[in-house]
């Protein structure tokens, strides 16, 4: 943002505008917040993905009186429907994590492509693409998801598409912003002079030089995607009827909070730790790729 960006264009020796990923990753790995974040992410991913295999009961199996804390054979009691809280918890993270990862991946592919094309072509196409992105930012993500769900219903593919599409403009803007100064540099001119094809210039010349900021953005977007998909579950729009879902669990069990808190507390803490984990990693990466151990805010 300030005038500290290196402006000398010496392709070989100076590091690119944002440090290349190996350097960023190494610097980030030295920060305690990145290690804690990674630990949280791995832990929660293990619970979400491996949980169904170790759950003592089925996803929707009746085990005892509803909303009771000490039911024989259960560790955390039963939920509003007499199902085992622990089993529901172990089953309930998978769809959130998988859908959030898929939608972030989709947004990355689309957003990076749009951002790179806009940065490389400039002019009319750049204006058109970025204006379109600006317009689509004028809509809260959760709202658009709700409008789409109204007609088609909470299908997994629809959630991935909507969250992916609404995340795309955010990634496209970051990519374009990071790629514009790279386009001006000599090695891009050299590649053009050598007659390299346009896609090749985008993917092998530009992309590696914007991967620092992209890594940060990908983590940040994963955090928000998890939040949105969990919020949809909380609002009652999870993908299958009576499926275990951390967001939905919070909603189902909060009425009985004072007698049986586990049904609400376990999933709420799981979502909290998962998003804090990815948030910490994003923050560490942004500090590392800014080259200083200091956050510059989310922009």
């Amino acid at each position: 943002m300030t005038a500290t960006t290196p402006t000398s264009t010496d392709p070989g020796s100076t590091p690119p505008v944002a440090a290349a990923p190996p350097g960023v990753l190494r610097t980030a790995w030295r920060m305690w917040r990145v290690r804690i974040g990674l630990l949280l992410l791995l832990l929660l991913a293990a619970v979400a993905l491996g949980g169904p295999f170790v759950a003592p009961y089925g996803e929707a199996e009746f085990v005892g009186t509803p909303n009771t804390r000490d039911v024989e054979g259960t560790r955390f009691g039963t939920d509003y429907f007499g199902q085992d809280v622990l089993s529901r918890f172990l089953f309930g993270g998978r769809s959130i994590l998988v859908l959030a990862t898929l939608s972030t991946a989709m947004a990355l592919v689309l957003g990076v492509t749009i951002g790179l094309v806009a940065a490389y072509n400039r002019g009319r196409l750049d204006d058109l693409l970025m204006r379109t992105m600006d317009v689509s930012l004028a809509f809260p993500q959760l709202l658009l998801a709700l409008v789409a769900l109204t007609t088609i219903g909470p299908k997994p593919w629809l959630i991935v598409l909507i969250v992916g599409f609404t995340t795309t403009p955010r990634i496209a803007r970051i990519t374009r912003g990071a790629a514009v100064p790279v386009v001006e540099r000599d090695f891009v001119g050299a590649a053009e002079a050598l007659g390299e094809s346009r896609p090749r210039i985008l993917w092998s010349e530009l992309l590696p030089n914007v991967s620092g900021p992209l890594l940060v953005e990908a983590n940040l977007r994963l955090t928000y995607s998890i939040g949105i998909i969990a919020s949809l579950g909380f609002l009652g729009f999870s993908t299958r009827v009576n499926a275990a879902d951390w967001g939905l669990m919070v909603n189902e069990n909060r009425a009985a909070l004072s007698v049986q808190p586990w049904g609400t507390v376990l999933p709420a803490i799981a979502i909290a730790l998962l998003t804090i984990g990815t948030g910490l990693i994003a923050d560490g990466l942004s500090r590392a790729s800014a080259g200083i151990d200091r956050a510059k805010g989310d922009q």
Binding site: T2, L142, L143, L146, L257, V265, T278, K296, Q299
Partner: protein
């Protein structure tokens, strides 16, 4: 001259944005795999019922006609009838709109000064204890979805650990939202905790940028007191970004109220939106989507225009 042109261009962009949003909302709600009349009335509805429903809600018209009728109705303040009870939307959503606007207004009243103060103080005490503590706690709070923050607050303050505040808001139809002050504490706290961390980080970043700028450096070199530097040189240049922050805050609230209202059973548009989505009540969903987008677009527009008007640097650069 330059400024006027820029403001007009920004206004035009706002109008175009709303138009595109209305198209998107309309097209998305045409994506229904079956007939909306069937979806609302159920399988056992007779042909006559379906035909009557289609006629009442104008579904027998062409899509283009439906769109222009709907858009014309929105502009003239008549968003149509609700599918579920056939009543004009404004008749039963009027109170909900007022309640939600009150919640957003009260939330902004708390969180805007708070995020400005926290962000500015963190920038002044950069890398000191307050800044670092704030950095970590805001990072954690900003990462969590609103409903998780609210649910954990309920566990902490309303049910299991301490029982200080009620876990739900009790506002009966016809009552004003501020009639249940106790019940408002947790929704407002949740909104504030969800919005403030993100916004205060933006304030901190823009304040640091101002403090590191050439003109503040110059003022310091002239030997002015730190207080004069801060009040006369740094702050005026931080006003522009402040407008952006307020817009950001309001925009964030517009999305956040949906979940917060559902969590605390607050009778506002968020709760209405959730119910309308469940009932496939398309006119209500469309209207609320447009209303929330309008808040979003207008607050961003005002912020941009405000920034253009108050930022000395921008003014000179433009002319």
């Amino acid at each position: 001259m330059g400024i006027l042109k820029l403001v007009i261009r920004r206004l035009a962009f706002g109008v175009v944005t709303l138009f595109v949003v209305s198209l998107a909302v309309f097209i998305l709600s045409q994506a229904l795999p079956s007939d909306p009349a069937r979806a609302v009335l159920g399988r056992e509805a007779t042909e006559e019922n379906v035909a009557a429903f289609r006629e009442k809600f104008g579904l027998d018209q062409s899509a283009v006609r439906q769109y222009t009728d709907w858009l014309g109705g929105l502009v003239s303040g008549d968003p149509g009838l609700s599918y579920s009870n056939g009543v004009p939307i404004m008749d039963f959503l009027g109170d909900r709109l007022k309640n939600s606007l009150f919640l957003m207004f009260a939330g902004s009243l708390i969180s805007i000064p708070l995020s400005l103060a926290i962000g500015a103080y963190a920038a002044l005490r950069r890398d000191k204890l307050f800044d670092n503590a704030n950095s970590v706690s805001s990072l954690i709070l900003a990462a969590m979805p609103e409903f998780v923050v609210g649910a954990l607050l309920t566990v902490l303050l309303a049910t299991n650990v301490w029982q200080i505040f009620p876990a739900t808001v009790r506002v009966r139809p016809g009552e004003q939202p501020w009639s249940d002050i106790d019940g408002l504490v947790l929704p407002l706290l949740t909104l504030t905790l969800a919005v403030t961390p993100y916004v205060s980080r933006v304030v901190r970043a823009s304040m640091i940028e101002v403090l590191e700028s050439d003109y503040v450096e110059m003022a310091r070199l002239k030997g002015l007191s730190e207080r004069t530097v801060l009040w006369r040189h740094a702050l005026p240049n931080a006003i522009g970004p402040t407008f952006q922050v307020i817009a950001l805050n309001i925009a964030y609230m517009a999305g956040g109220v949906i979940v917060v209202e559902a969590l605390f059973n607050y009778p506002g548009i968020g709760l209405a939106l959730r119910d309308a989505v469940r009932e496939v009540n398309l006119p209500v969903v469309q209207f609320l989507a447009m209303f929330i987008s309008l808040i979003y677009v207008v607050s961003n527009l005002l912020a941009d225009v405000g920034t253009i008007l108050v930022t000395p640097r921008l003014r000179t650069r433009l002319s």
